[in-house]
């Protein structure tokens, strides 16, 4: 994945007012035009609604057993929809191949048009279990609105694995506007699965980070990004002390209970200009003309023989330097947890193409959440995605 070369460290000279710092590097074969959504391009020669996964690899050698349950032809499956989006192009990759396998005990009826979009091989089909926790934690949250300068869409959906196990969504986001400056201030967090209350941790660090940024904006001085990290980290410490009834603050206990990644930042109308900080592997991209460019460090690096699932997270407090740069009028800023980012990869695959079409322009918030809830085997983590479009002035 191409790292964002134009993002500068805070102490470098400015100058982003006229030099576009993140011009996308066009991918091969791109003509620069804004593409129409064309998910059918993923499946050349394959009829829409075909019975076979579009990109399932052949079985590994030695895995000699024949395919089993998830290859059975659907029996009694609901009729496939003709279109997923009124007025949109047919989502040829999105075939509702859900199986009636676990309907024992009665399964609520489902409208075909709301079956999850399937990208590649679907994940297992089941009715989700409730999230068992003392704190209410909805399966899905979504938000969407526009200011004079920006249109915002955000959604956080519980991963299929957590739905299957009856555990809470560990991702969260917060996004608000600061009316005097017109800034959209945001945070996206991913609770570390090993931490039992990390869903609370993710919510807490988002709220704390946004509040600190807003406080700096309100005070009229530059955002102290390191303080944002410290405040969010300490929030975990104090909340763990309260939750567990500890006599005194215990950062190690907080890490064990509530560790969470964080990306926090803001986009100001002047430019517009984006500022971001990152703790952990939650990602940020700019989408332009169907091509994604990463703005932050990811956990996947081309050429690594194997990948690591280790992550840095609050209440660890690395030194952070905000990445800053302009956001073009024809660009979309995306902030996403690894549940989205891992499936996206470098954006050249099926997931990247699917979202390039869906994110070219804002869709209704519920539709945004629906797309994010796609089904793709082994990509079963919680997913959170925040998208910000600069509004074109008349």
């Amino acid at each position: 994945m191409v790292r964002e070369p134009g993002y500068r460290e805070p102490d470098r000279p400015s100058g982003h007012g006229d030099a576009p710092l993140y011009r996308p590097e066009r991918g091969p074969g791109r003509d620069g035009g804004r593409p129409e959504p064309s998910p059918d391009a993923d499946t050349p020669g394959q009829p829409r609604g075909g019975a076979h996964p579009v990109d399932r690899p052949p079985p590994a050698r030695g895995a000699a057993r024949p395919p089993a349950t998830d290859r059975r032809p659907p029996r009694g499956a609901p009729p496939r929809p003709e279109l997923y989006e009124a007025g949109g192009s047919p989502a040829g990759v999105a075939r509702p191949t859900r199986q009636p396998a676990d309907r024992a005990g009665g399964r609520p009826g489902r409208s075909p048009q709301w079956l999850p979009v399937v990208l590649g091989t679907p994940t297992a089909d089941f009715e989700p279990r409730p999230a068992e926790d003392q704190t209410y934690r909805p399966d899905t949250v979504t938000d969407g609105w526009s200011t004079r300068d920006f249109t915002v869409r955000a959604a956080s959906v519980r991963g299929y694995l957590h739905r299957h196990r009856g555990t809470p969504r560990q991702d969260d986001f917060a996004v608000v506007v600061h009316p005097p400056t017109g800034a959209v201030v945001f945070a996206v967090a991913d609770g570390v699965s090993a931490a039992r209350h990390s869903h609370l941790g993710a919510a807490l660090v988002c709220r704390a980070a946004v509040r600190e940024i807003l406080a700096d904006l309100a005070a009229g001085h530059p955002v102290d990004w390191q303080n944002v990290v410290q405040q969010a980290a300490w929030q975990l410490v104090e909340q763990t002390r309260t939750l567990l009834g500890l006599g005194e603050a215990d950062p190690a206990a907080a890490e064990e209970a509530m560790a969470s990644t964080l990306v926090a930042g803001m986009v100001l109308p002047d430019g517009p200009t984006v500022s971001l900080i990152q703790v952990g592997d939650t990602g940020a991209w700019v989408l332009r003309d169907g091509a994604y460019r990463s703005l932050l460090d990811g956990k996947l690096h081309t050429g690594d023989p194997v990948v690591s699932s280790a992550v840095t997270a609050l209440p660890r407090t690395p030194r952070v330097s905000p990445r800053r740069g302009p956001l073009g009028r024809d660009e979309v800023l995306l902030i996403g947890t690894d549940g989205f980012g891992d499936a996206l990869g470098d954006g050249a695959g099926q997931v990247g193409r699917y979202f390039a079409g869906r994110l070219a322009r804002p869709q209704p918030p519920v539709q945004f959440a629906y797309h994010l809830d796609f089904s793709r085997e082994t990509y079963d983590d919680d997913r959170t995605l925040l998208a910000i479009w600069p509004r074109t002035k008349a």
Binding site: A63, A124, V192, L236, P251, P305, T317
Partner: protein, 224 residues
């Protein structure tokens, strides 16, 4: 990587098939069957694992290779034979794992660092195994150098098992006098849990924990 087909964790069970395992082999096979059944109830965890079962004595026998256990009808049966050569076991993994990583990556998978679950009831009867082991776990030498969880039962000594495990907390030794069959059952339970819970973990090279309350700190009261 372009948004691969899937995330995979290659898991290898390397079990001692030396003659001394005769009495407990039935329990080990039963444990593997339980693992299979448990994974069938965790289809999403199972989808992310490719499972190999290997038995070692003087040589290594491949009983199952990179299998998707959702599609496996039954687990293979391990059978006692020969002596206890750790060198044979680690030498096989040294060749096998890089080749498997290449195969899976060529098929478009994103491959996580492989995990080896090593089980032995005795001390090694060969010399020189430590050097083979060192090469196997050296990430500069072996592509996909694995994490090794080692479990010692019967006559296996704690010091030896600690040398096999790649981290201290990955080494387990059954207490003297405990039921070996029960130890194997616990090993298989731990194996299952490890596979099912193989999500993200906290990194080892970490920045400092936050140490003091920042100025102007306020509790968020609208979440908890």
């Amino acid at each position: 990587m372009s948004g691969g087909h899937a995330n995979l964790l290659p898991v290898y069970v390397m079990a001692d098939e030396s003659g001394s395992m005769t009495k407990v082999m039935g329990q080990l096979n039963e444990g593997l069957r339980s693992l299979h059944e448990a994974l069938l109830g965790e289809p999403m965890a199972a989808a992310k694992v490719r499972f190999s079962v290997l038995g070692f004595s003087e040589t290594v026998l491949e009983h199952l290779r990179l299998a998707d256990l959702r599609h496996a009808e039954e687990m293979p049966e391990l059978k006692p034979r020969g002596r206890t050569s750790y060198g044979a076991a680690f030498g096989d993994l040294r060749q096998r794992i890089p080749a498997d990583v290449d195969v899976l990556k060529a098929e478009g998978f994103t491959v996580h660092r492989p995990a080896v679950f090593f089980l032995s009831d005795g001390q090694p009867t060969d010399k020189g195994w430590l050097e083979v082991h060192r090469q196997l776990i050296d990430r500069n030498v072996t592509k996909g150098a694995p994490n090794i969880v080692a479990c010692g039962i019967g006559d296996a000594q704690a010091a030896t098992i600690r040398q096999v495990a790649t981290r201290d907390e990955y080494g387990f030794i059954a207490n003297a006098g405990t039921d070996v069959g029960a130890s194997i059952a616990r090993f298989c339970t731990a194996l299952t849990k490890s596979i099912v819970e193989s999500g993200r973990s906290l990194g080892s090279a970490q920045p400092e924990l936050v140490v003091e309350r920042p100025q102007g700190f306020r509790m968020a009261i609208d979440v908890v």
